[in-house]
């Protein structure tokens, strides 16, 4: 299926989208938070996600939005504030980047094991040391096995819309998992686009009020949450988390269907989107803003007659196993672009590579697969880089050795 991810098709005249504004990714997320009628926000500064919180505090100061806004003393407190607000049935929002995200890791862990559904934006940033403001995905990836929903978007428009979609999925009674909305540092957090802002009514129609129901903490519902369970019950509780993550796939699909019904056919596929893949033999797959050079390279290579395409993976958790398996087994070779690292892991590949290779193992038609590690610390991944990656990936289909199995792209050697 071929989709071009351009502007929303639905016009503003029908009242679904209210106005247009020039917004960067951070500001777009802030608009999404307003439209989601979030009740509690906890903030702590770290580049590049901070501007989300800057924008929200200004919206509150100007009376455009009503929420409790707490300046926390650390990310650990910030995330615990969000978690506990969520437990009393308040819609809660937090966020972070890089080392800040890791500082609050304990709180992120329990938010998932407690099956609470707040949302956090992760403005992806390289982990210290050495210091770097630029994008890398290891921060958000750190929650991938803990019971989180984890999704990457590529434009401010998608970022705004995924605040609504994210809460809708996370809070569903069959899911109730925390949601990490990942936006690439600089390339998305601070790149401006024209964004169509949904009307309050349309947002409300799509996103019902948060209701933790029988699990909310309130004097009228005197329950004990997360008592010490030990070996007596932990396995059964883990299994419930496992089931929820499985169920989330169906809920995501439903959510996009409803979103499309209200806002016009915005998303042709829920978990990932494909660009010029119909007759493609060679594709690249990645998460986040690498989609932009990836798609442009496709366009240029197509002009020269190469059968190439790009797959942009949006939902990393839950991983769309069956759909992606079916998609990628159509091609001769697949190049996986990792903006992360997994030192010492099998074949020393990146995280995305391991996931995709694992996903493809049971496939009847396994494509040749190679890995690229690039764009670390915020280094640009250019159109030329993407063309080079397509070239290496196409070659992979022709040989059966492991040569060139993993390539660091744009590395000074």
């Amino acid at each position: 299926m071929t989709v071009t991810m351009e502007k929303p098709k639905s016009g503003m005249s029908d009242g679904v989208y209210e106005r247009e504004e020039l917004l960067n990714g951070c500001q777009a997320v802030a608009q999404g938070v307003c439209l989601a009628d979030v009740d509690v926000i906890a903030a702590y500064p770290i580049r590049p996600y901070t501007e989300v919180m800057d924008a929200l505090s200004k919206l509150i100061a100007d009376g455009a939005f009503d929420a409790e806004y707490i300046i926390a003393d650390s990310e650990h407190s910030q995330f615990e504030i969000v978690k506990h607000a969520s437990s009393v049935n308040a819609r809660a929002f937090g966020g972070s980047s890089g080392t800040g995200w890791m500082y609050g890791m304990e709180a992120l862990t329990v938010t998932a094991t407690d099956r609470l559904p707040p949302m956090f934006v992760v403005g992806n940033r390289a982990l210290d040391d050495p210091g770097a403001f630029g994008v890398e995905h290891n921060d958000a990836m750190a929650v991938r096995d803990l019971g989180w929903l984890l999704c990457w978007v590529t434009t401010p428009q998608e970022a705004l819309e995924h605040v609504l979609i994210g809460y809708r999925v996370a809070e569903d009674k069959n899911v109730r998992m925390p949601m990490a909305l990942a936006i690439d540092g600089a390339f998305l957090t601070h790149s401006q686009h024209i964004v169509k802002i949904p009307s309050v009514a349309a947002a409300k129609k799509f996103l019902p009020q948060y209701d933790l129901a029988e699990r909310r903490l309130h004097p009228d519902n005197p329950i004990s949450v997360a008592p010490q369970a030990n070996e007596d019950w932990v396995m059964e509780i883990r299994r419930q988390n496992w089931e929820a993550a499985k169920r989330a796939r169906g809920v995501i699909k439903e959510a996009y269907k409803e979103f499309n019904a209200i806002f016009g056919e915005r998303y042709a596929q829920p978990y990932f989107d494909e660009y010029m893949t119909d007759d493609a033999e060679t594709v690249l797959i990645g998460v986040g803003t690498v989609a932009a050079p990836g798609r442009t390279a496709v366009k240029r290579l197509r002009e020269k007659g190469h059968k190439v395409g790009y797959v942009n993976l949006r939902w990393f958790r839950p991983f769309p196993t069956e759909e992606l398996r079916a998609c990628l087994s159509r091609f001769k070779s697949v190049g996986v672009v990792d903006r992360d690292f997994a030192h010492g892991s099998p074949d020393n590949c990146g995280i995305l590579m391991h996931e995709i290779r694992s996903c493809l193992y049971p496939a009847k038609n396994r494509p040749a697969i190679v890995n690229f590690i690039g764009g670390l610390g915020g280094r640009d991944l250019s159109i030329a880089d993407a063309q080079k990656m397509f070239d290496i990936t196409a070659q992979a289909a022709k040989k059966d050795s492991m040569d060139g199995y993993i390539t660091w792209i744009g590395l000074r050697e």
Partner: protein, 331 residues
């Protein structure tokens, strides 16, 4: 900002006036004689059912609240070891936002967190500081059994000088491994948070009902408030469980545990251990009742006595703030 209605608490005058309703009941597995369990039972009796509680990791979580046998009649949630302050802020913020937006009924709901001396006094002190700077109605109770009891009695920043713990065992080369003076948490928090209207220290059993009334006072005064309780722990302090209440009383009377409240900046001694007040019994009478101090020699006891005497006779605000006054400028 919205003004939330208040609960009118009566002062409990005498033990026979203590509410009969138990909101912390059977189901917990704390040691016999555990004073911290009494601290739990007390604060929730005093605050009543319109309360949400968070409990940090520690004995009062692990030994206290087991899956399917919870002792809590009120809504209760675990919070992480150092997250006591943040847990209270999160819940108070959630409740306030929901009430303001009309998503739940307007009423006073108490938000109380309890954390141990390691959780609150060491790891979570930053989060509690954050909470005490906020304008939410919340109460944080630091129950101080002077060790990381749940992990088998390790020294914390609040363990008394010289105490034996599994991290501070007396040895043939070093008799004393716990060489830190007990951290002054209540005083530090009171001094550091000028807008916090109520900080107190208390002991669940001495003087009778004092702790319950301090809990009620904290909730009535409102805003973010803090109570530090002294909780004798038979396992960690090594004494027969029947003496828990006596040890609390001795700790207060010897001056090691200053008992006071600070109401909008004014210090009120519950037990004035100055020579000019009720005076003090020798610290030895408290120390020698516990196995954890068995290895101390007279010299060590004298050192502790000297430190305690200094607290009461030389500190500008005795027992509260370790400042000794203003020196004349030399220039």
């Amino acid at each position: 900002m919205t003004t939330t209605p208040k609960i009118d608490y009566e002062k409990i005058k005498g033990v026979h006036k203590v509410p009969l309703e138990e909101l912390y009941t059977s189901g917990h597995r704390t040691c016999q004689g555990c004073e911290s369990a009494t601290t739990m039972r007390g604060f929730i009796k005093a605050s009543g059912p319109r309360t949400i509680v968070t409990g940090a990791t520690g004995c009062m979580y692990v030994a206290n609240t087991s899956y399917l046998t919870t002792p809590w009649i009120v809504p209760w949630m675990h919070t992480q070891l150092g997250a006591g302050g943040a847990s209270a802020v999160g819940m108070a913020a959630g409740v306030r936002a929901l009430q303001r937006k009309g998503k739940i009924k307007q009423e006073k709901i108490n938000i109380i967190n309890f954390s141990g001396d390691l959780g609150a006094g060491d790891m979570g002190i930053g989060g509690i500081s954050g909470a005490l700077q906020s304008d939410y109605d919340l109460l944080i109770i630091m129950y101080d059994n002077e060790s990381a009891a749940n992990t088998d009695i390790q020294a914390t920043g609040l363990s008394i000088y010289g105490a034996q713990t599994t991290f501070t065992p007396p040895g043939s080369k070093h008799r004393i491994m716990q060489r830190r003076w007990k951290k002054n948490v209540a005083g530090m928090l009171a001094v550091g948070h000028p807008t916090c209207k109520y900080v107190a220290t208390a002991c669940a059993t001495f003087p009778p009902t004092d702790y319950l009334n301090k809990t009620r006072k904290a909730l009535s005064i409102g805003g973010p408030t803090f109570i530090h309780t002294y909780d004798p722990c038979p396992k960690g302090w090594d004494y027969h469980p029947r003496y828990s209440n006596e040890l609390g009383e001795l700790g207060i009377k010897c001056g090691i545990y200053p008992l006071y409240e600070i109401v909008e900046g004014n210090v009120i001694y519950t037990w004035d251990a100055r020579k000019s007040g009720k005076g003090r019994i020798p610290v030895k009478e408290f120390l020698q009742r516990q196995g954890r101090f068995e290895h101390l020699i007279q010299e060590d006891i004298d050192y502790i006595q000297k430190g305690v005497d200094e607290m009461w006779e030389e500190w500008e605000i005795p027992g509260v703030a370790p400042l000794k006054g203003i020196l004349k400028a030399r220039i």
